[in-house]
């Protein structure tokens, strides 16, 4: 299934217009300088992760690209056009599972299509395919309360896929899951994203996860967050968990950890000395 996708992926860096292009983006909340200035380019079909210490502005950056908040400074272009509001083909996967507890799995997945006025029959058909794709076949008529955390996050993933996105913004989507489920979900996400070939901006605390998933890992420094390193990950695709033990992968993990550790230590000392 992946030869076609691989071609698309390999040609991604040379594609004409990148899906996301940020220049000099900054965010301030009152007196707090939260983010930036940040420059960022994400190619079409490219998988980019951001790792960084807590509170460095990763989520803020993601919400700016998703048009959930406006930047204080800088320019944001998505798909070659300046961002004016939420975009139809940008899908956001949130940290907690934003499933609607009063809807069944299939109606949750169909929610975004329903909001956009797609007919009942069509959206249910599409939702059923996606439920199958994320491995929840047989659970179509269950309610979120009857599912595990991992399964709920699969529902949120399927809903994000439903609107045929060309860009997925994921804000620590597996943050609330246990380690094993997390790794399984990461592999699952790779499989699904490779199928539809969209660009992904993935925010995570887990260095392993970022190396396993990404074409490129960006390391963000402490607040106000700016990128302090960019680590390309040259592992062949499709990747499975075993790829993490390859020498280039372990080297990448070491390099990212060294950067974050230095930042986190300074940040900890800074917070300790200001009571």
């Amino acid at each position: 299934m992946t030869t076609q996708m691989k071609e698309k992926r390999d040609s991604a860096p040379t594609a004409p217009t990148p899906i996301v292009q940020l220049e000099g983006v900054e965010q301030h909340f009152g007196p707090v300088h939260a983010l930036g200035p940040v420059d960022l380019t994400i190619g079409r079909g490219e998988f980019v992760s951001i790792v960084g210490p807590s509170g460095c502005g990763k989520s803020t950056l993601l919400e700016i690209i998703g048009a959930l908040q406006d930047p204080a400074r800088g320019s944001v272009e998505v798909d070659g056009a300046p961002l004016t509001g939420p975009r139809r083909r940008t899908a956001i996967v949130f940290q907690e599972s934003a499933t609607l507890p009063w809807r069944t799995v299939v109606d949750n997945v169909a929610f975004a299509l329903e909001v956009r006025g797609i007919g009942r029959k069509e959206r249910r058909e599409r939702a059923r395919e996606l439920v199958e794709l994320v491995g929840l076949g047989g659970f179509e008529n269950h309610y979120p309360a009857q599912l595990s955390g991992g399964m709920r996050q699969r529902v949120a993933m399927a809903r994000a896929m439903s609107t045929d996105p060309d860009l997925i913004l994921a804000d620590e989507p597996f943050g609330a899951l246990d380690e094993q489920t997390r790794m399984l979900m990461a592999e699952e996400l790779l499989r699904v994203v490779e199928r539809i070939g969209c660009g992904v901006l993935f925010i995570t605390h887990s260095i392993q996860e970022s190396v396993l998933l990404s074409d490129r890992v960006l390391v963000m420094g402490r607040r106000p967050g700016t990128f302090i390193d960019e680590v390309p990950i040259d592992l062949p695709r499709p990747r499975m968990h075993a790829a993490l033990s390859e020498p280039s992968a372990t080297a990448a993990q070491e390099r990212i950890w060294a950067q974050i550790r230095a930042e986190a230590e300074v940040a900890m000392v800074a917070t300790r000395s200001t009571p």
């Binding site: 959930l68 509001g85 939420p86 956001i92 609607l100 009063w102 929610f111 329903e114």
Partner: protein, 269 residues
């Protein structure tokens, strides 16, 4: 013996399925039946005047007779039921609407919340002379008082529901560019529904109380007035029959509405 030696405190232990050889729910019935039999025997013993108390069997048979009385059914029962329905519907619609506006506007919330908080400290039935002066003794003051009395419990419950929509779902709505009416129909209302339903159940109980009590003090007919007239005329049989009828009626109405509303409650699925 074994259960008695348990180290788990009794208040966290599950209710036992059987107590002293009977299923637990059966004891509820036994208690009520015992009380009824005790009143029956006391009334028949001659220790109490028939003006004060009559046997339960007479109360029940008279209240069943009342159901065959056309004047009672049309003049009192039907009229009270219609008044209750009108007040309940008005308070349900107005209550949810007011709560929605409060949830949406900080100013309205600030302006209205203090009144909602202290409303039930007000002895609302003391307003009835004002109502009579302004609207006479017809149906208008009854509906007004009953609606006012039940709307507040609907408002406060619906408000809890609207305000407990998780922020992450609000972000989802924002990212999907949902319109205000879509947010209301597809997120806020379903999310608040279990709390709204809880408010509606209480709202019906309050509407029944208010209609019957208002009829008691200011109407010329209706269920409440039937009891009041019998009471004023020393007609103890009709008075008790009316009380039994009204109690059973209110209980059944509440149970029926509760069962109907629970079918919509997604937390109970």
């Amino acid at each position: 013996m074994k259960a008695r030696s348990s180290v788990v405190p009794s208040y966290v232990r599950p209710t036992p399925r059987r107590v002293a050889g009977l299923p637990s729910p059966a004891w509820t019935v036994v208690l009520v039946a015992g009380l009824v039999v005790a009143i029956e025997l006391y009334a028949r013993s001659g220790a109490v005047s028939r003006l004060d108390l009559i046997p339960v069997s007479e109360m029940v048979s008279r209240s069943v007779e009342l159901l065959g009385d056309r004047d009672f059914v049309v003049g009192a029962l039907l009229r009270s039921v219609l008044l209750i329905c009108a007040s309940f519907t008005a308070s349900a619609v107005a209550g949810v609407a007011v709560a929605y506006v409060m949830a949406r506007s900080r100013w309205v919330h600030r302006a209205v919340k203090p009144y909602v908080n202290v409303f039930y400290a007000l002895p609302i039935f003391a307003l009835y002379p004002v109502m009579v002066v302004m609207f006479g003794t017809g149906v208008v003051p009854i509906i007004l008082l009953a609606t006012l009395f039940s709307v507040v419990i609907v408002i406060s419950n619906a408000l809890v529901g609207f305000e407990s929509a998780p922020p992450i779902v609000t972000k989802l709505a924002l990212s999907l560019e949902m319109s205000r009416s879509q947010q209301l129909r597809k997120i806020l209302l379903p999310s608040a529904l279990p709390d709204i339903l809880a408010g509606l159940k209480l709202g019906l109980a309050y509407a029944i109380i208010a209609v019957l009590a208002t009829e008691f003090i200011l109407a010329t007919t209706g269920l409440g007035q039937v009891v009041n007239r019998a009471y004023n005329n020393f007609n103890t049989v009709d008075m008790y029959a009316g009380i039994v009828f009204v109690s059973v009626f209110a209980l059944l109405a509440n149970l029926a509405l509760g069962a109907a509303l629970n079918a919509f409650d997604w937390r109970r699925r």
